[in-house]
Subunit: 235 residues, 2 copies
DNA sequence: CCCGTCCTTCGTCCGGCGGCGAAGTCAGGG
DNA sequence: CCCTGACTTCGCCGCCGGACGAAGGACGGG
């Protein structure tokens, strides 16, 4: 195990309310400017700047300047996974409480770059149930019928294969079941969003980090997914 | 996602150096008394008591009093997994550094209740390579030849099946490859330790949380594992 | 029953960190 | 070229929380 101080430093980095709000906002995969993150965290610009500097220095966040904006995003998929896992702990740990988490978040949301919530879990179950993916070492591989079906849906399989992992499970913190991550999960989400099967992300409200991650199915999107996968994804 | 404050609270709980040292010590799966944890963290008894109260209150640690001792252990496998994942981040994140972590830890150690390090990774690879386990939804299932072989080794398969998950991957932070977790991983470790295939855990030195997790193969243990699995596990 | 041990509670101190305002730096536009 | 807008650096303040000493319960043993 790494030195306790290194471990504690990393955890402490995520342990500040303002930084935690920033990290959760970045979990959608978007790159956000320092000013946006300051408003999301509800703090002033100087304070946000100091926090972001520490997050970058700690390796959790990557920054790439463009003009007079500085865009920030999570440094890696591993960072996103760790944040998701910690978020999952908060619902399983502590005094049992009735779900205080909005119904919208449980229905559909983004986990880094793929679909999560009931929608993501249903997608996972449908892909397995239809035999489109099959268990393989370390995750899932696509079947012949799956490749045909995914192609019909417009999913870019070759792009999915360029990822470090083609398809693997990612524990869903609200449903307590796996949803689909990896290159395939990313491409399916990209394809769905591109084709407007899902409503666009609503604009962020000031101080509301969570609004960014909410998704709603369009009627058209629900219909096409239902037809393609043979399940009722829409609530 | 849970409220940012809940997330931050949990991360902050792990973010204190003293509490981090305690959690890492508990990662071996052992139940430790408040006094032991105080010495491990290098703090006084009153301070340790306050820290442990917060860890229990936060749901990360479970306590069960026995006589005048109060034994503490991690509250669940999920807590252990989250701590491991955060530990993994500390080696992949931040400025690239040459491995400052002891060779002994990378060779063999315990991850909660199963084998990790090069030993754990080699075991995983051997089980797959010999066809003793095969990919299944959410993890691995045992094959017929595997069940025979594991039975010869003295592994209690029925005990392994009582776990929530029979066999699944757990990312190894030092080898960056999967080792075996779940009921099977637990039973193999229990069986190995019971049969003295591995040297006993060395006694804890004061203030040294890491010593608890170091393992060394006995010559007898290495020979039997080599013969059974057909790989050279000993360095 | 009294003592030793383990652990907790209480009271107190103090260092560190998060917060902001003001000033400085840099990029872009009219 | 100056102005605006985005972000950083600097300096300072307030306060939360982690540290300890002393005292106060539990529990077990002689």
């Amino acid at each position: 195990m790494p030195t306790p101080t290194a471990f504690a430093g990393l955890a402490a980095l995520m342990g500040d309310p303002a930084r935690a709000a920033m990290l959760q906002a970045l979990l959608s995969g978007e790159a956000l400017t320092a000013g946006e993150l300051a408003r999301i965290a509800g703090i002033g610009a100087p304070t946000a700047s100091a926090h972001l500097a520490r997050l970058v220095e700690g390796g959790l966040v990557a920054v790439h300047p463009q003009g007079r904006h500085r865009y920030h995003r999570l440094a890696s998929e591993e960072v996103a996974a760790a944040i998701e896992m910690l978020g999952g702990l908060t619902v399983s740990v502590g005094p049992p409480r009735r779900w205080p988490h909005g119904e919208e978040f449980r229905a559909a949301r983004l986990c880094y770059d793929h679909l999560a919530g009931r929608l993501g879990v249903a997608l996972h179950a449908a892909l397995v149930g239809q035999g489109w993916i099959a268990p393989a070492a370390g995750g899932w591989s696509s079947t012949a019928v799956g490749e045909a079906g995914l192609g019909r849906l417009g999913v870019d399989l070759s792009a999915a294969r360029t990822a470090r992992r083609f398809a693997c499970d990612c524990m869903d913190w609200s449903e307590r079941r796996a949803h689909l991550a990896g290159g395939l999960g990313r491409e399916i989400a990209a394809c769905c969003l591109r084709q407007h099967w899902l409503a666009r992300l609503p604009p962020a409200r000031e101080g509301d980090a969570l609004a960014r991650r909410r998704l709603r199915l369009t009627p058209e999107g629900a219909r096409r997914l239902d037809a393609a996968l043979g399940v009722r994804l829409a609530a």
